[in-house]
Amino acid sequence: MGKSLIQARETPGRRRAVLSADQLSFRYAPDGPLVVDGVSVRLTDGALVGILGPNGSGKTTLLRLLSGTRKPSSGRVLLDGQPLDRWSRREVARRIAVVPQETELVFEYSAIEIVLMGRHPHLGVFTVEGPDDIRIAREALTATGTAPLADRPFHELSGGEKQRVVIAAALAQSAGLLLLDEPTASLDLGYQLEVSSLLQRLNQDHGVTMAISTHDLNLAASICRELILMRDGRVLATGPTHEVLTPENVQRLYDVEADVHVHSGTGHMTVVPVRRVAR
């Protein structure tokens, strides 16, 4: 069986839910507030979903619940129809890869070492990465435009370079589902574009299913086909981007009056914030 960077997309047909969450609620402390409050999500095969919401709206926590690194206080997550807690962490990691908001190292690793760590769920306890794993790691570096940085110490890289190496590490995991937490937050305009078109390519050409939390409305508008709008841990609206991304919804979400129109050059929607309004 040949290994590849991204698992091949399964036969097209009726899109099935790869990951679905039903009435998820979560609090960090037993007596703390609900950070996620009754959220239901369905990620179908090949979907590219944006999760939008102000700071503290529960986006990051929702991604943690979906990847199973936190267990919901109530409700449950199904991966391929099976409750997530019935899967071992290793099995989950072969299906779901996560790009965290930031990665902080305590010890020094080179970029390629970080990317090779993405192969962990495919290796046995005493197995060392072989030629296949190294090839996949190199492909992942190339796909994110970071191949020249392979042997550089990770902590010496710029914010944007780090972020792309971390995305490469997630790609090296060869999972069909990618959960990204503000992947473009630390990038300049050029890399924002580059990463967003990378994500779009991975989705369209390789069939990687994605959920992306972001504050960048225009990124969401340009690549995400569906949006989930979250505020105070609840889902405010969900559906196809062109239906959900309305001035009314933007205002309900951020308390900001905004113009939303279709950009003539790119054909996707753009959001221009006008002014802050009272809630």
């Binding site: 943690r64 990847s67 199973g68 690194t69 071992s88 962490r89 290793r90 099995e91 989950v92 990691a93 072969r94 779901i96 890869a97 996560v98 965290p100 990665t103 902080e104 190292l105 305590v106 010890f107 020094e108 690793y109 080179s110 390629i112 070492e113 970080i114 090779l116 760590m117 993405g118 962990h120 769920p121 290796l123 306890v125 005493f126 060392v128 990465e129 072989g130 190294i134 995991q173």
Partner: protein, 333 residues
């Protein structure tokens, strides 16, 4: 890029150097002996004074140094990665303080209930380590479903000070000769006298290293953070439990054998990282080997530098380790 070959080459080099040190160290001392004569099988044992000095008088001490050094250095590597804290040592989590308190009680109350040729002090010390481990583990796992590394650190540090106070109290109550013996034990002493204590400690050390052998790639991931590790397929809580219990076992065994010898568990891991990078598949075995050689050499210095007097080995590790480590820190930044 061949990762397997790199691991094999680097670890082999460390192994060769360590074997050389362990063979050479017993030849050094007040009476000089020659290695060829030691291993010359044509000379009968009772006539071969060199072999007797080598195998009876000096080798047990060298071997106990190697085991203690390897255990403390490896435990340091594992704990630093697991706690994501470069300043962690095998003594951070209170295990060694428990071991020390056990030894102090045995010395102060003159316990002489040896078991199978092992005297009461190491047994009491190991028991103390196990008790401390149990207390810290219970504290760290009672607050939430997993194992809180923060609580682990806080509980360990608190237990350390509490046990240190008790140690002082026991010493204060003890008579003069007992106090002196206790103080001498606390400074570290690898002169175990025979192979029996080594053989007694070995099963625990071997068990701990068996667990260590399964950890390295997981440790790499844990240093990136618990969430990242979990997302990459690491069973975080299970790994933390295993790491804590195995390092406690190794530390407890090492302390019962040689006393709480400082600095090895922090200096050696960092020195090795500077030499070979941060991949724990290399760092962990290399640090264990380097720790063994380092401790044997420090002990060699301790017993020769002011001969015929001997210094406690803990003083040497501190004298060499402290400034060397500071120098490295300054040089690096």
């Amino acid at each position: 890029m061949n990762i397997r070959r790199r691991i094999f080459t680097v670890v082999s080099l460390f192994a060769l150097a360590t074997i050389a040190v362990v063979l050479w160290a017993p030849t050094v001392g007040s009476t000089s002996i020659s290695l060829p004569r030691v291993f010359d099988t044509t000379i009968p044992w009772h006539e071969n004074v060199d072999a007797q000095i080598f195998f009876v008088a000096r080798l047990p001490r060298v071997l106990s140094g190697a085991i203690v050094g390897a255990s403390l250095a490896a435990a340091g590597v594992v704990l630093q990665a697991m706690l994501r804290n470069p300043l962690a040592t095998p003594f951070t989590l209170g295990v060694s303080a428990g071991g020390a308190l056990g030894a102090m009680l045995a010395i102060a109350f003159g316990l002489e209930v040896g078991m199978m040729g092992v005297s009461s002090v190491p047994i009491a010390s190991f028991t103390g380590s196990l008790v401390a481990t149990a207390i810290v583990y219970w504290l760290a796992s009672s607050r939430k479903r997993g194992l809180s590394t923060n609580v682990l650190l806080l509980a360990g540090v608190t237990l350390n000070s509490f046990f240190s106070a008790l140690i002082l109290f026991v010493q204060y109550m003890a008579d003069f000769t007992q106090s002196l013996r206790a103080l001498r034990w606390l400074m570290g002493d690898l002169d175990v006298g025979s192979y029996t204590p080594i053989i007694a400690a070995l099963p625990f050390v071997v068990a701990a290293f068996g667990v260590f052998a399964c950890l390295p790639r997981t440790l790499n991931l844990l240093t990136l953070g618990e969430d990242v590790a979990a997302a990459r397929g690491v069973e975080v809580v299970r790994t933390q439990r295993l790491a804590f219990l195995s390092t406690s076992l190794a530390t407890g065994a090492a302390v019962s054998l040689g006393g709480p010898i400082g600095f090895i568990g922090i200096v050696v891991p960092h020195l090795v990282r500077l030499m070979v990078g941060s991949d724990h598949r290399i760092v962990l075995p290399a640090a264990a080997l380097f720790g063994a050689a380092f401790t044997v050499l420090c002990d060699l210095t301790a017993r020769t530098i002011v001969a015929p007097l001997e210094l406690p080995v803990g003083i040497i590790t501190a004298l060499i380790g402290g400034p060397f480590f500071l120098w490295l820190l300054v040089k690096k930044s």
